[in-house]
Each structure stands twice: as structure tokens, then as C-alpha cells.
């Protein structure tokens, strides 16, 4: 195929891939691979001078009844590709102990045992807090707290 024809075909192919990718994005699908860039489309991150943001914290319980709080970044390794929503899908407040995947429970117990080596963990509470932060003075106000309790005694 000569370069003239090849250029025309490549141009047409680029337009087609672009059209499919954009339609996918408008429909709310984020396909991969696709001819897209991150959109940061949400324009309502702020409400006036207030930013509503969520965070997760873990509370580990030990056989003697004591407990210890653990920030989420000690349980979930900080990576560029595991933002809050991914954790929320697996261990979010909409989940119950019965709907959490057994594999996720095993993973959670092994992560807690890495944080507390040599200690037995009997249960964990995943505490989800929704905070309102002021962009004027940086103050924070707790507006909602939900939690998910998981019994880890039978998890090997």
C-alpha cells in the first residue's frame, strides 16, 4: 500500500476510534484501551467554600478486648490506582459482613497481622467518615459516620 492510501486509512481509523471512545465516555463507560485522556469532568467538587470528603479508618480488636485504630493507608498500600472508591466497593458502608467477599476478609486479616505482628486479631471495624472541610480556614466538621464490622475469628 502506498503512503498516500495508508495516510488516508490511518486518518479514517483515528476518527473512528475517537468517535467510539467519545461515545463510550458520554455514555458513562470508561473503556480501555480508548483514545481518551482523564477528564476531571465533575465541576461540583466544592459547595460554596466547603469540600465534602470521605475517609476510611480501621479499628482492630484483640482477644483481650482492647482495640487499636489504624489509618487506611497502613492497610491499603498507597498506590496511584487504588483511590477511595475501589476500597469503598469492597468494604464500603453499604456492605454487610455477609456480603464481603471471603477472599477480601482473608486479605484484610493478613494486612492487619502485618501491622500488628504476632498478635491475634478477632474483629475489625471499617469506619467511614464524611467530613466537611472549609476552604477558608481549613476547619473540619464530621457530618456522617458509618461502620462495617467484620468478625475475623473464623478467618484463617
Amino acid at each position: 500500500m502506498n503512503h498516500r492510501l495508508l495516510a488516508r486509512w490511518m486518518f479514517a481509523l483515528s476518527c473512528l476510534v475517537f468517535a467510539v471512545s467519545v461515545v463510550g465516555r458520554i455514555l458513562g463507560i470508561d473503556p480501555y484501551p480508548a483514545l481518551l485522556m482523564p477528564s476531571f469532568a465533575n465541576s461540583s467538587v466544592l459547595s460554596g467554600n466547603t469540600l465534602t470528603m470521605g475517609r476510611a479508618e480501621f479499628v482492630a480488636y484483640f482477644p483481650d478486648g482492647s482495640s487499636s485504630r489504624v489509618p487506611a493507608d497502613q492497610i491499603v498500600p498507597v498506590t496511584p490506582d487504588i483511590p477511595g472508591p475501589v476500597l469503598e466497593r469492597a468494604l464500603g458502608p453499604s456492605k454487610t459482613e455477609d456480603t464481603v467477599d471471603p477472599g477480601t476478609k482473608r486479605w484484610l486479616k493478613s494486612r492487619l497481622q502485618e501491622v500488628f505482628p504476632g498478635q491475634d486479631i478477632t474483629a475489625v471495624n471499617v469506619v467511614w467518615e464524611t467530613m466537611a472541610r472549609s476552604t477558608v480556614d481549613g476547619s473540619a466538621k464530621l457530618i456522617r459516620q458509618q461502620s462495617l464490622s467484620i468478625d475475623l475469628r473464623s478467618i484463617q
Partner: protein, 357 residues
């Protein structure tokens, strides 16, 4: 002149040389070796976390084992080194594109897609430009390619860059970024500012973040929203003219540096791709009268350069597998170099416009 003829004249116009592309191929290879992310971290998560995006990764039902991922990283580095050396360049371009699609895609299987597709498309498109015909080992083992450098692959690459930006701008427009009350940039800034070590931020305290908290002007924040959307649409609008397109990319490099200094997100993949549109021979050539088609490049000695690139590939891959991500340092450096080159281009263009007036 028919529409087809006009299209042909447009798509084949340009002044990029074989040496420009040969040098860029090496820069592309080195930059990727320095900045591509480690993918073995995905083994730290259970299979239940898997939410692959629509596409081939939906076939995945379990997180792949660690040795398989390390093997992929080594294969990717080896292909990048061979691409940089310009050995079997066409084959390596396709292989690099495949390995990039795979390794980057594996990082997105938990549902968060970064869309670094331009990195994948660059070798795939530029292999049609024969970017291994100069400053390469291929140029030493085969006869020079006759004729002028094909410009159309660069035009197609420019078009895909424009399309990608358009695809980022359109949702902003539909999502209300231009509404006078939105201040979307301010929202994202504070979302990052209030989240120490935000997962996508490479800096714990971006340099301009403190200063930006003192910016309380609604008009100023809204202006940033408008300029962002205009720049993103403008890149596609500039594609028909090389000088306009290169100027738009030069502005984009400064924009990316601003984003990095404000929120710590480095758009390094974009900056690396923009490098395809830089006349590199201007910076590296030791003999500007050198004709097209001459083998090699006077500034580069093949033997030591090859050994150096292979060693570099070993070191960066080892660092990556040992979880000492070289990108932590390389990302900001590449973004900064991109902005310096962009500003230099804008200054030269400005001077030439003033001279013409």
C-alpha cells in the same frame, strides 16, 4: 484540486527530519524506562477488588501471579532498550505498544483508568514514519531509506493528541466547568490539598499549594477553569497548522508544570509524547548542513551509546522491581524540561512574529 488532493497535500506537509525522529526515538525510550510504573503492586490486593474497565481486561478473573508481572516488566524494558537502540525498530515499536497496553492496562484492573493511551499510540504510529532509519543500529545494517521523511505519521499522531484533549474537554464543558459558580479547578485543588499523599499526587506538598490557598478571588479561579477548557479544545483546533499546533503544545507544557506545582499531578506521559513534535536536530546536531539519508549521527558513537542504553535499561528495571520507583525523580524533571523547551519555543516564535511585523 479535489478534496482528496487537498487532504494529501495537508497530511504530507511538514519539516520533521529523519534525524529528529531518530533522536526522539531514543528520548522516548529513555523517558519510558525512567517513568513507567511498577505493576507488581496489583498482587497486594485480593481478586474481589478486580473491576476491569470495558475492554479486553474484562477477561481477567484473578490477579496475575507476581513472577508473570515481573516477566512482563523485564520484557517491556528489553523491548524499550531495543527500540532506543533502533534495532528491528518496526517490530520493537509494535512490541512496545503491545507491552505498554498490557502493563498499563494491568494497573487499571481495579477500575481506575488513567488513560495514558498516547504513550501506546506513539510507537504504533511512528513506526510508519520509519523512525529507526537514523541514529540507529538499523541504519548500520541496511541501506538508507530513499526519499524524504514521511510527514503523515506525525500528522496522524498530532490528530490523536488533539482528539485525546478534545475527549477531556468535552466532559468538562458538559459537566459545567464554564458555569460562573463552578470553580472546578479550586475544588480539585482543595481535594488534593486536604488529602496528604493523595494517591495520584507525586508530591506530599506541591510547591505552589501554600500560595494558592491565599487565592480567594472567584474570578481568578473561574478564569483558570475557562483557560483549561479553552486550551484542551484549542489543541484539536490547532492541528491543521504545524506552527499553531506546536505553539499549543508548548503552552500545554507550561500548563502541565503549573498543574504539577499546584496539585502534584505530573502529566509526564503527555510531555513525553509532545517530544515527537520537537525538531531535536536543532539541539543535538553538530553539522547542520548534514544531508538526509546519511547513516548514524555524528554526535553519537554507536558502541558506547549501545552499552550505555543497555546498562541504563538494567538499572531502571532493577530499581522498578525493587520498588525504588525512578519516576519519583524523573517525572518532575521531565515535566520541567518540557516546560523549558516549550517556553523556549514560544519565545522564538514570539521573536519571529515581532520581526515579521
Amino acid at each position: 484540486m479535489t478534496l482528496g488532493d487537498r487532504f494529501d497535500a495537508w497530511v504530507h506537509s511538514g519539516r520533521f527530519s529523519r534525524v529528529d525522529l531518530g533522536i526522539y526515538r531514543i528520548i522516548f525510550s529513555i523517558s519510558l524506562l525512567l517513568t513507567l510504573p511498577d505493576i507488581t503492586w496489583i498482587t497486594s490486593f485480593p481478586d474481589d477488588f478486580l473491576r476491569p474497565p470495558i475492554g479486553p481486561f474484562q477477561l481477567m478473573t484473578a490477579v496475575p501471579p507476581y513472577p508473570f508481572l515481573v516477566g512482563l516488566e523485564i520484557a517491556r524494558s528489553a523491548a524499550l532498550v531495543l527500540l532506543g537502540l533502533g534495532l528491528y525498530t518496526r517490530l520493537m515499536s509494535v512490541l512496545v505498544a503491545f507491552l505498554l497496553t498490557t502493563t498499563l492496562g494491568l494497573g487499571y484492573v481495579f477500575g481506575h483508568v488513567h488513560h495514558t493511551i498516547l504513550l501506546v499510540l506513539t510507537p504504533l504510529v511512528l513506526c510508519f514514519a520509519d523512525w529507526g532509519s537514523q541514529v540507529s543500529l538499523d541504519s548500520r545494517r541496511r541501506n538508507p531509506v530513499p526519499g524524504q521523511q514521511q510527514q503523515w505519521p506525525l500528522r496522524i499522531l498530532a490528530l490523536t493528541v488533539g482528539f485525546a484533549f478534545f475527549a477531556a474537554a468535552l466532559p468538562k464543558l458538559l459537566g459545567g466547568w464554564l458555569a460562573p459558580t463552578s470553580q472546578a479547578t479550586k475544588g480539585y485543588f482543595y481535594a488534593y490539598y486536604f488529602t496528604p499523599q493523595h494517591p495520584t499526587s507525586t508530591m506530599s506538598e506541591p510547591w505552589l499549594a501554600g500560595a494558592a490557598t491565599h487565592l480567594h478571588s472567584v474570578a481568578a479561579w473561574e478564569l483558570i477553569d475557562w483557560l483549561t477548557v479553552l486550551l484542551e479544545f484549542g489543541i484539536l483546533l490547532a492541528v491543521p497548522w504545524w506552527s499553531a499546533f506546536r505553539s499549543a503544545l508548548a503552552i500545554a507544557t507550561v500548563f502541565h508544570l503549573g498543574v504539577f506545582l499546584l496539585v502534584g499531578i505530573s502529566f509526564t506521559p503527555n510531555v513525553i509524547v509532545y517530544g515527537a513534535f520537537v525538531s531535536w536536530s536543532r539541539y543535538f546536531s553538530t553539522n547542520k548542513q548534514r544531508p538526509e539519508g546519511v547513516r548514524g549521527h555524528p554526535a553519537i558513537k554507536a558502541g558506547p551509546a549501545s552499552v550505555g542504553l543497555i546498562g541504563f535499561g538494567f538499572v531502571t528495571t532493577w530499581l522498578l522491581i525493587a520498588r525504588h520507583d525512578p519516576g519519583v525523580i524523573a517525572d518532575p524533571v521531565i515535566v520541567a524540561i518540557g516546560a523549558v523547551i516549550g517556553l523556549g519555543y514560544l519565545a522564538r516564535s514570539g521573536r519571529s512574529v515581532v520581526r515579521r511585523l
